[in-house]
């Protein structure tokens, strides 16, 4: 039997493709763009998947970390020899303050390592400079927030609560196992145990290390086993007389910012799928048009003996030919963009993309997609064509005959409004499905575009709202507890200082109980706050804020309440290890409220977990009457400039009074960093919007050229009765503008839900909080201008084509 393909039929397909180059080009571009959208995400995913292994897993991350205060030489053998762990390494991590010689001060996290040259667990690599750092030297992590200033600032003064020391910068290291410092305005510094000894020269008996990093033997990916082994290790140490203050079991194989990457990739994937879908719609529209235009040919072919299979074969070849041309540039562009995206996400995670290679399987998947998606998209229109009977196909009534034309009633109004406009309105309404698809595609593009602008406004509004919840301009962390009155007196010396309030702020950890698993223990800041504080006014999400007379009532921030690994809410009780504060024993607290604290400082911890209790009761427990560790300072002028001037003077006033400061941060700086995060998000949405607008204008160009093509006879008639090329051109352009306007209306309808969806995604991603939604009229206005411009550009070529149709050629066309 005669097959589904033959050279003669291939010749027909080829000739048909060239018979309308613009339409063919549109369909090729649609497939290319769709493939670009989906392929770039696939490629990025493939690269990142591999690079996470190469970067994060390559650091040999700890299976668990024990906090032990009194580490000595006898500890390691207990774990290595008795319990057979694969690797055990001692570390010390603590917040410090770095000062440059010209007085700049920055928050930092100090990490002390046993031996730079034999790192085994949570390893990092030298990036530049000297390696290993000599005694008296430190190295900086490359993602540090102030790397540029610190790296070449000369000797740095490191100040910890128990005194400071001057160190020089040996070089820069890359530690892919930690959350990038720039995201939290934090600097990471590393020193050897020998260097650290200079800090503690005056108290030689205190232990250098306070953490034990352990990698278990065998399967490291089993978190339950890791937690059990952590508990075994803890018992072993405790029975040997050590006091284990905390146990942390991080999720195996998960970078601390894993959820950021997941969220970014999810957004991208959703967008990739969307572009592919839009492209598929476009292909379906174009093939539908080809089939419709070739109705008579279909009839003729069936009349002379073509079977349904043979007809299917012809249009299948057509679609495959379009794919064949589109796949190569699509895959090429997708690979380039995929590498770009991978690089971008790598920056978010402080990764190095060591190998840009995209696995062959990803190319294969893209090629398959490039052929399969258009074929699937074209299936319906082809099916319709195949099903059409010879009689229907040969039906002589002109396409879009009266009953299918909803514009009939509009025509009577022609005299009232401009003739060309009315004609354009009628023409636009002619093919509803195709029109609806185009408007929807453009409308979605608009929603992405306006969302990018709305999101920026929402983001800034959220940060502003967050800044309204704290009425202090400086947060001064003291190096040790000081008499509140003494600190207050030193600060109010400065005339700019308006009000001060003393808090206590200490890192505490939850004590394991039967109800709390070792890997779900909370480690965060315990803030002792005056119950009638005038410095903060956090929105209460659940329960209530502190009240005077509260005893063991505790309020947690939303970061804790929403953390997936921690399960604490209002009404729960929680035992905190407050022994370190001087309390007799660990204290049980009852959670009375959850507050929203957007942009809470992380200060060197893995997460910005803050808890609030009544400072009076806390002092009662610890016996530290009227001692404070943190001062909130309100000033006359909260502007960033004024704060920058005032900061060193505050510092000076305190040191003049012999009060040690471990960190002095201005609220303005911290919020500015959060504001800057929006750039990342907007860059992202901007890219999406551009892609969507490209697909949208492709759709519009196809729509217009298809309309022109279908109305060749009509246009020929108009020219025959005297319409000039200019009038025809204006007619087509007016139609495009009307489509653009309709798309704008669609955008206005869907922009809110889309903005909220994207805003919440971005808010959860970076702030773990929904955004304050703002919808700007500015966005609507800008999009109106853009969409009208895009409409004109998209219709330019079809309009020119239409205006150049010669009367006789048009009327002869069948």
């Amino acid at each position: 039997m005669a097959g589904l393909f033959s050279p003669l039929r291939l010749k027909k397909v080829w000739a048909d493709l060239w018979a309308n180059e613009l339409r063919t080009l549109m369909s090729v571009l649609a497939v290319t763009v769709g493939l670009f959208g989906a392929g770039s995400v696939l490629s990025a995913y493939a690269i990142l998947d591999r690079e996470i292994d190469a970067n994060y897993s390559g650091t040999n991350p700890p299976s668990f970390v024990l906090g032990v205060d009194d580490i000595d030489d006898g500890l390691k053998p207990l774990l290595v020899d008795d319990l057979n762990f694969a690797a055990v390494e001692l570390r010390r991590t603590e917040p410090v303050r770095i000062e440059t010689s010209d007085g700049q001060a920055e928050a930092a996290q100090l990490r002390v390592v046993e031996d730079f040259e034999s790192l085994e667990v949570a390893t990092f690599e030298p990036e530049r400079g000297e390696w290993p750092p000599l005694p008296g030297q430190l190295v900086l992590e490359r993602s540090s927030a102030d790397l540029e200033e610190l790296e070449h600032a000369g000797p740095l003064w490191l100040e910890r609560s128990a005194g400071g020391v001057e160190l020089s910068v040996a070089g820069v290291v890359h530690d892919p196992g930690r959350a990038p410092g720039w995201q939290d305005d934090l600097n990471y510094v590393y020193v050897s145990a020998e260097t650290f000894a200079q800090f503690v020269a005056d108290s030689p008996n205190s232990s250098v290390f306070n953490e034990v990093y352990v990698v278990v033997d065998g399967d490291t990916a089993d978190i339950v086993r890791n937690a059990e082994l952590a508990s075994t290790a803890r018992q072993r140490l405790e029975s040997a007389g050590y006091s284990v203050s905390s146990v942390a079991v991080p999720p195996p194989g998960e970078h601390p910012h894993n959820d950021q990457m997941t969220a970014v990739l999810f957004l991208l994937q959703a967008f990739g799928v969307l572009t592919l879908l839009l492209a598929a719609v476009l292909v379906a529209v174009i093939v539908g048009n080809i089939v419709n235009q070739q109705r008579r040919q279909l009839g003729a072919m069936k009349a002379i003996g073509a079977t349904g299979g043979q007809i299917t074969g012809i249009y299948l070849m057509l679609v495959l030919a379009i794919s064949a041309v589109a796949v190569l540039p699509g895959v090429f562009l997708a690979s380039a963009a995929g590498r770009g995206i991978a690089g971008f996400v790598a920056t978010l995670l402080n990764f190095d993309v060591t190998d840009n290679g995209i696995p062959a399987s990803i190319y294969v998947v893209q090629i398959l997609l490039g052929f399969a998606v258009p074929v699937l998209a074209a299936a319906a229109p082809i099916w319709i064509g195949v099903r059409m009977s010879v009689r229907d196909a040969m039906d002589d009534s002109p396409a879009g005959s009266a009953k299918r034309n909803p514009s009939a009633h509009v025509v009577s109004a022609q005299r009232v409004v401009g003739r060309v406009t009315m004609l354009a309105v009628g023409n636009v309404l002619r093919r509803r499905t195709r029109l609806a698809a185009t408007i929807l595609i453009l409308g979605l593009a608009g929603a992405t575009f306006t969302s990018a602008i709305n999101l920026t406004s929402s983001w800034l509004a959220t940060i502003d709202a967050a800044s309204d919840t704290s009425q202090f301009d400086f947060d001064v962390n003291l190096s040790e507890p000081y008499q509140q009155q003494r600190v207050e007196e030193a600060l109010v010396e400065l005339s700019e200082v308006n009000a001060v309030e003393g808090w206590t702020e200490t890192v505490v950890s939850e004590v394991a109980t039967q109800s709390a698993n070792a890997d779900e223990l909370l480690l965060g800041f315990l803030n002792g706050v005056p119950a009638e504080t005038t410095m903060v006014d956090y929105p209460v999400l659940d329960g209530r804020w502190l009240q005077p007379g509260d005893t063991n009532a505790i309020v947690i921030n939303h970061e804790i309440a929403q953390d997936p690994h921690i399960d604490i809410g209002v009404g729960d009780s929680i035992i905190l290890d407050t022994a370190g504060l001087g309390a007799d024993k660990n204290v049980e607290w009852e959670v009375v409220g959850v507050v929203k604290q957007v942009g809470a400082p992380r200060r060197g911890l893995d997460a910005p977990f803050h808890m609030f209790v009544n400072v009076d009761y806390l002092n009662e427990l610890t016996g530290n009457n009227n001692y404070v560790t943190s001062m909130k300072v309100r000033t006359d002028s909260p502007s960033a400039d004024a704060q920058a001037v005032l900061a060193p003077r505050l510092d000076e006033a305190l040191s003049d009074a012999d009060i040690g400061v471990s960190a002095l941060s201005s609220t303005g700086d911290r919020l500015q960093i959060l504001r800057d995060h929006v750039v990342v998000i907007v860059a992202f949405l901007g890219l999406m919007a551009v892609l969507a607008i490209v697909v949208g204008s492709l759709a519009l160009t196809s729509l217009m050229s298809i309309n022109v093509l279908e109305r060749r006879r009509e246009i020929g008639m108009m020219r025959a009765v005297g319409a000039t090329g200019g009038i025809i051109q204006r007619l087509v352009l007016s139609e495009a503008l009307i489509v653009g306007l309709l798309a704008w209306v669609v955008t206005m309808v869907i922009t809110r839900p889309v903005s909220v969806l994207l805003g919440d995604a971005a808010g959860q991603l970076f702030l773990r909080s929904d955004l304050e939604n703002v919808f700007s009229w500015y966005a609507a206005l800008v999009w109106l201008v853009v969409v009208l411009f895009v409409s004109l550009v998209a219709a330019f070529y079809p309009a020119r084509q239409a205006s150049r149709l010669a009367v006789n050629a048009v009327l002869a066309f069948d």
Partner: protein
């Protein structure tokens, strides 16, 4: 029996046999009877003109005898095949082998050349070996007198030339029956004359030709004229010679 099988010449046997055929169309105004209990037999080698006013049912009749449409009632047997038994695809295949169709508006594929248009039915049906086909297509073009136009696209041909290509195409698979719906409707009288002569030659060479025409001069030239009115045969020039119906 091989329904899509090749046509075997069977002497002066009936090639088209419509018996008690009714065709109704569903319209918004209710059922419309386009053909009403109609009987018609055509013998191999006949040249038949079908005439009648517009809307009398001529095209409907042709659609039924080419399996393009099915009768509402009655049987249609053409070239030994009972058409109602055919599926859509079988009908297409059967048509490709047994019927050559010619239309008023030629219906050539616009992106294929004249010779390629003639090759197409052979390609679809798989008739004749691939090496034979091109020679045969050129031979058919010679028969209709435009072998020098073989490589032109339809738009580069005059109406008469296009219809000649369409006739050559209808002969591509050497079908026993040729059916033409107003083949001269779009041509001037001189060109029409030449086209009709072609049909006469075909009939002389043994083909059966059924042709709808509005042109009385042409109809009068035909050996047999069947006249339709409101879906009924009102006159048949062969009735005297052979009984119509039972």
């Amino acid at each position: 029996m091989d329904r899509s099988g090749e046509h075997e010449p069977t002497g002066f046997s009936t090639i088209v046999d419509l018996s008690r055929v009714t065709k109704n169309y569903e319209t918004p105004a209710g059922e419309f009877v386009a053909l009403d209990d109609l009987d018609l037999q055509i013998v191999e080698g006949e040249l038949v003109a079908i005439v009648g006013k517009s809307g009398s049912g001529k095209s409907t009749l042709l659609n039924l005898m080419t399996a393009i449409d099915h009768p509402s009632r009655g049987d249609v047997t053409v070239a030994g095949t009972e058409l109602h038994e055919l599926t859509e695809n079988e009908a297409a295949r059967w048509r490709g082998r047994n019927v050559g169709l010619i239309f008023q508006f030629f219906q050539l594929l616009p992106t294929l050349t004249a010779v390629e248009n003639i090759l197409l039915p052979m390609d679809f049906v798989g008739r004749f070996s691939k090496s034979e086909r091109r020679g045969r297509a050129l031979e058919l073009l010679r028969r209709v007198g435009i072998e020098d136009q073989a490589d032109k696209l339809p738009t580069q041909l005059s109406g008469g030339q296009q219809q000649r290509v369409a006739i050559a195409r209808s002969l591509a698979n050497d079908p026993p029956l040729i059916v033409a719906d107003e083949p001269t409707g779009n041509l001037d009288s001189k060109t029409s004359d030449a086209i009709v002569s072609l049909f006469e030659q075909l009939a002389e060479a043994g083909s059966t030709v059924v042709m709808v025409t509005h042109d009385h001069d042409i109809a009068d030239r035909m050996p047999r004229r069947v006249e339709l009115a409101d879906g009924v045969i009102v006159a048949d020039s062969m009735v005297g010679a052979r009984p119509v119906g039972n």
